[in-house]
């Protein structure tokens, strides 16, 4: 009888230990999952932040000069030099002019790629040259705007 009671006691202890072990496994797995999810989300955020920081740095390094504006038949021609430290993709050209005493604008999609230090001659903007041209603006893929004032308003 004494042995039987001692055996019962050990068995209860073993069962309790098993339950404790299961609970510890559950708690540990949840804790590890939480850590992993937090790490995964933080890494995601950091990589996107890095991507945007890189874009903003490159954006600041962009610098192009519109050197000459020529007026052709049905189009405007530009000479552009990249004096910045990154290659630039010129996405749009915006032309602002005066028509009937009012400011009017027109734009053309350019998609012209210009390397560092490169000079491009006669870049064609498919906008008929207006008589009272005021500004020409070039918008780059990184959101920078470079302006050439043709005539002071």
């Amino acid at each position: 009888m004494k042995h039987l009671l001692r055996y019962r006691g050990y068995k209860r202890k073993a069962q309790a230990s098993l339950m404790v072990v299961l609970l510890i496994i559950l708690a540990t797995s949840l804790f590890i999952s939480m850590i992993y999810v937090a790490y995964e989300l933080t890494s995601w955020y950091e990589s996107e932040k890095q991507k945007i920081s890189q874009l903003e740095v490159e954006r600041l390094e962009e610098n192009i000069i519109i050197e000459k504006i020529g007026q052709g038949i049905g189009s405007i021609h530009l000479n552009i030099t990249n004096v910045g430290s990154v290659p630039v993709l010129i996405r749009y050209a915006i032309v602002v002019y005066v028509k009937d005493a009012e400011l009017v604008m027109a734009y053309d999609e350019l998609n012209v790629y210009i390397n560092v230090g490169e000079e491009l001659y006669n870049v064609k903007v498919d906008i008929p040259p207006p008589t009272n041209l005021k500004y020409i603006m070039l918008v780059t893929s990184r959101g920078r705007v470079f302006i050439k004032v043709v005539e002071t308003v």
Binding site: L4, R8, K11, Q15, L18, M19, L22, L23, L26, L30, S33, M34, V37, A38, L41, W44, Y45, E48, K49, K51, I52, L55, R59, R91, Y92, I94, V96, E102, L103, V104, M105, Y107, E109, Y135, M137, V139, T140, S141, R142, G143, R144, V145
Partner: protein
């Protein structure tokens, strides 16, 4: 001998019962915690996702001008996500959204936003607020 046999049987039943009860409690606890964790994870994911989208939204007002037909804003979206104008202020006065067309600013596109307002001569401070809470400002001389 008879007593010992009964004791052995009840011993097995009690052990089985205890194990079953413990496993049931463990399973309920596991399901509850698992659901709770999944829910929290999706909330956390959506918070991060909206923060990242806000970070990836980049818009620049390339040029703004005014003529008799209204105010024009040349807006270029150089970010990674489409943007949408939800608020537009002229000198801190909110403009009704029905006067602004279009409101959507697609990625990598120049959008000419027309604001149907009439302004007197002067310099105006224009501010647009996107649906993600970013704001972009410029000045326009009339």
């Amino acid at each position: 001998m008879k007593l010992q046999g009964k004791l052995g049987l009840s011993e097995i039943i009690s052990a089985l019962l205890l194990t079953m009860i413990a496993l049931s409690i463990f399973s309920i606890l596991y399901i509850f915690l698992s659901n709770y964790f999944t829910e929290r994870k999706s909330i956390l994911h959506s918070i991060y996702s909206s923060n990242i989208e806000r970070l990836l939204e980049r818009v620049t007002i390339a040029y703004a001008f005014y003529n008799d037909s209204g105010l024009y804003l040349c807006i270029y979206n150089y970010g990674y996500v489409d943007a949408k104008i939800v608020l537009l202020f002229i000198n801190d006065t909110l403009v009704d959204n029905s006067l602004i067309t279009p409101l959507e600013l697609p990625v990598d596109e120049l959008t000419i936003v027309h604001v149907d307002v009439s302004l007197n001569q002067g310099v105006y401070y224009i501010k647009i607020v996107s649906e993600r809470g970013n704001s972009y400002e410029t000045f326009v001389k009339v």
